[in-house]
Symmetry: D2
Subunit: 342 residues, 4 copies
């Protein structure tokens, strides 16, 4: 079987590099196009990008010539977007109009009611909105998005709790510096320090989960009815977002019932290549999960939960640039392919 041709928009940045890492040996996708700003276009990728990952840059990709972020220059069936939000707003629509499938990690289009905001384990039925999206917009292609990194971690953990009737959620996040991109957080700002603020983050975290856990009514995706109140903090951790979660539920389940729900959670996805064996890993040690020890569980795609206490309170942890960014988009594209949409 011929592989599906894949491009990366914003290929030189931190998330772009994670896309390349995740796609370079992919069983279904083949990287055929690396697009970046005009400053990089025309150069070999290994000259345009300063590789920042602990794995080596895939050799053959280093020799590819970077193209402009322009539908006419990109040769691909699906493009993965690691663009900054303002650029994504304009560019992703151009690609969708030109017939591309756009799997986007950008925030720009996440909250539009006809654009799915996907976590495959949570809301695969939202893919039904794609047809509506194409009708509404007259596009040959379409856009699917994945949530903000902080949203993904705890929303995945909320999914199996929906049956208890979620009423409200409090979340305090302790977020890794890689979430801000390579130049995002100066070392003088964060060494031995906490920054109790991440621009725009709380707004995303307080609205995305309800859309993800909502329903598509045939016309639009309607958000679920619960509140989220977030306090987001940057901490001196390289990778891995840790979240302290409180969930108030109508049925007031016990910690044991919540643990049981986490353990039994089976998203029934089939067998997507990037999917972790279990999306939620329950740690019963008193002091887990921890980013250093748990972020790579399920090759960075599993969410670890622990310390389930009355309240209901628990800790939720996941790899922010894998499960929370590039891996999320790739899993979305795998689902699209499985469903015959790609």
């Amino acid at each position: 079987m011929a592989k599906i041709k894949a491009g990366v928009l914003g290929a030189t940045g931190a998330v772009g590099q994670r896309f390349i890492e995740g796609l370079s040996d992919h069983p279904w996708f083949e990287l055929t196009s690396l697009a970046a700003s005009s400053r990089s276009a025309g150069k070999k990728y290994c000259d345009a990008a300063r590789w920042r990952l602990e794995t080596e840059m895939p050799k053959d990709l280093g020799d590819m010539t970077v193209v402009n972020v322009d539908p006419s220059e990109v040769d691909a069936d699906v493009v993965f977007s690691a663009l900054p939000s303002d650029e994504a707003q304009r560019v992703e629509a151009e690609f969708a109009a030109a017939g591309f499938v756009v799997a986007s990690n950008a925030a720009a289009n996440r909250m539009k009611p006809d654009i799915p905001l996907m976590i495959p384990e949570c809301n695969k039925e939202h893919l039904d909105a794609i047809k509506k999206q194409q009708e509404n917009r007259g596009w040959d292609g379409y856009i699917v998005t994945n949530p903000n990194c902080t949203t993904i971690m705890f929303t995945l953990s909320l999914k199996p709790l929906m049956k208890f009737g979620i009423e409200s959620v409090h979340i305090a996040s302790m977020q890794a510096v890689s979430g801000a991109g390579y130049e995002g957080v100066p070392s003088m700002a964060i060494l031995g320090n906490i920054i109790p603020y991440i621009g725009g983050e709380e707004e995303k975290v307080e609205t995305e989960p309800q859309k993800i856990l909502g329903t598509f009514d045939g016309e639009k995706i309607v958000s679920a009815d619960f509140s989220v109140s977030a306090s987001c903090h940057r901490v001196p951790v390289m990778d891995g977002h840790t979240e302290a979660i409180w969930v108030t539920m109508r049925d007031d389940p016990s910690p044991a019932e919540v643990r049981e729900a986490f353990l039994k959670f089976d998203p029934g996805l089939g067998d997507l290549p990037t999917e972790p064996k279990k999306p939620l890993i329950v740690r019963d040690e008193p002091d887990r999960p921890q980013p250093r020890l748990d972020r790579n569980a399920g090759r960075g795609m599993a969410i670890s939960v622990g310390r389930i206490r009355s309240g209901i309170r628990y800790i939720c942890m996941g790899h922010n640039t894998v499960r929370g960014a590039a891996g999320a988009s790739i899993l979305n594209a795998e689902l699209l392919h499985q469903k015959g949409l790609l």
Copy 2:
């Protein structure tokens, strides 16, 4: 005026050193006795203790001979206790029985209904329990305690909010490693990592604030009626606990009203030497308070608050070994002296 003679119990440890730092040039107290375990007793302090602070060890104190933690060996009017909780349980009563005033940072006696758990800015009227304590126990001396470091920070911020009718509090703490003592947190545990657990901490944080903000009914201290739900985390920060706080209040004040209450908060203490000019400092920048920049405000005795948002949510930060430990005990003793109890 002759100075009041002061001893430190547990003088060689991390909090003991902070006591010495805080007392070495004190206008009212004079360090006359440094007590530690039998391993240290008999040695010169500079040989017994490995000084870990950024300030230099006060010279004259280095030459003092360490004595045993025994009322018969300690020459002092007031003793400051930096003992581990289990030892404090036994020893502090011995000192109180022997006529000493004990200003304790240990957890052992904090929740006893006839022993004041003091934050001078919050509950100076609880000192009335001292007489009852002496009656109950037949002691010539007495014990006053200060709260857990994490408790102190946000409880101080709750005091001016009591008028709005506090119903419940959620707190996620990001706590500095110095809170665990010098050997408490191995670097391999915390470098670039978060540990979402601190043994015994959440239990303290969830019960102490209500006692502090409660009332003395003539017989015992009765806790205030609100709930606290805590999630405590260790972070790679040297000094300074950062806390994300949510407070639900009957009167549902706006963020502006909460800010106003913080700004206007005046504990009316008079002029205690260790007291900060303002106990609560309101930071209006979007990304403050931060431990590195704000922990030394008011010589480590002020609490900084910021990011007051609807919810009500805010960030609270203070120096855990100064305001949260040694400085808290010293301020208590200053209040005792001001009230003629020492």
Copy 3:
């Protein structure tokens, strides 16, 4: 082919865990015995050891019962010693006398003239000393040791420079905290700090390289004739020792000649399972090698060198608990098996 039975002495500690990680799927060795102190003996390994690695504890090993560090309790052909130096001094001889092959990471026996101090890529001919060792000591088994972690990194880089006539070496090391064991470096000592001292380290670093690069004269191993002057420092890095090296050589080679010697270095080992494809990786970027990016090169077994400048100066970096400890012992045992000595 039946696998060789392998035991680990000191199996619960930090290096012991790295041994288990390195041996759990080994093509030649099979873990048959996990030995530790009497505190752990009798317990299941998963109860005796607190697993600290980012990889999961191998499941079947977690169920093994820990035995005492006693030849009569250990069932193995080769034992890997992660014992503390004082205990190793006594115990390793007992095991060798009882017929075991001892592959030791401990310092106790490293400098004995009839005990090989091995880096397989440097001095495989020193294995000839084993027969002499057995004669001298009347042992059925024998001991081979691997060097101190800091020694291994730069000694490997010196090997291909020996032809230029090494006269003297200066080394300033920046060593990761994992080298001191899990409890070895308190976070309060090293967060945002440098400790310019590691007990006993400089002495090892200044004598071991000459033995490794020396010759076996039929009776004893005679150290090579050059001097090493070391300054060893602890830095807030989890894994990976970085070393600034100056080498004065008789032939005064140019940086290009040194680079060429590094690139061409082929130890001719054959194909040992733990051996990296290239023992020395030359990085030509201006700012490499770095511990975070390069420590896992060659699955942690390759040494990365870079910034080769006149002087001759260069930077040398390797994974201290893999290439510098457990991996070094395992590679030694693989060489023993290849040479028919195991």
Copy 4:
């Protein structure tokens, strides 16, 4: 006595802020002019600068209006230059030509033979070059510079060793991130990592000490005759450069003789306000100096040395943005005033 009017060029950056901190309560100088780029000019200082220091921004300075870096806009007798090197090259000459005394922390003019490169404790006689400089260049004002931060630390320690006949120096530096400015080192680059390269640093470190310790021959400053070989590394430390030093000397002094020379070193400066009581502090503990504990010695102006061993080897540590930057320039200006040159 009226104070000397002082301006800061580049007042908003990291070193500029240290200048303001050091000058705001100065007994001899009065801050009369804050100059910065056109982006800041015209704004109030508190709006133009994001204050990054742990101390509070001096209130009255926050209200000053920032001016352009232009002699016609700056009202001052002496200007302190925290300009980037390329801008300094052009601008400092303009100020000197316009009659200002320029005390510069920039690298641009350091190595010019008629411009003193000053450490007051080392080479106050080089001030004689000022007259020559004015003659050569036809300036009414003049420029004095201070060395690179890494240079200052160990050069101060070399001064009392000059009598032993210094032949060569090896230095491996472990440099704090603040040396690169607030945005200089991304946290993703340095958290738990070492970067073994700092652009342009080794070149400065290898040439500046010889000029500082050289002599003014009436025409030009002639560098002393010894070699320096440097390896410079960035470490995850906020403030304080640690240096491992080897010094080869003709007279081959013992460690005790070197220690004695350090202890007896008395620069005979008189009593400059910013001068530390002792420029060199000898630490006899086995593991000192350390940046966290020792960087603030002498209010950040003293250099701490320790671990003096045969070789001669020792450790040298100082505060890079105080003694190594702003404090160095201020001390230079104090010396100028003392000598009647300002």
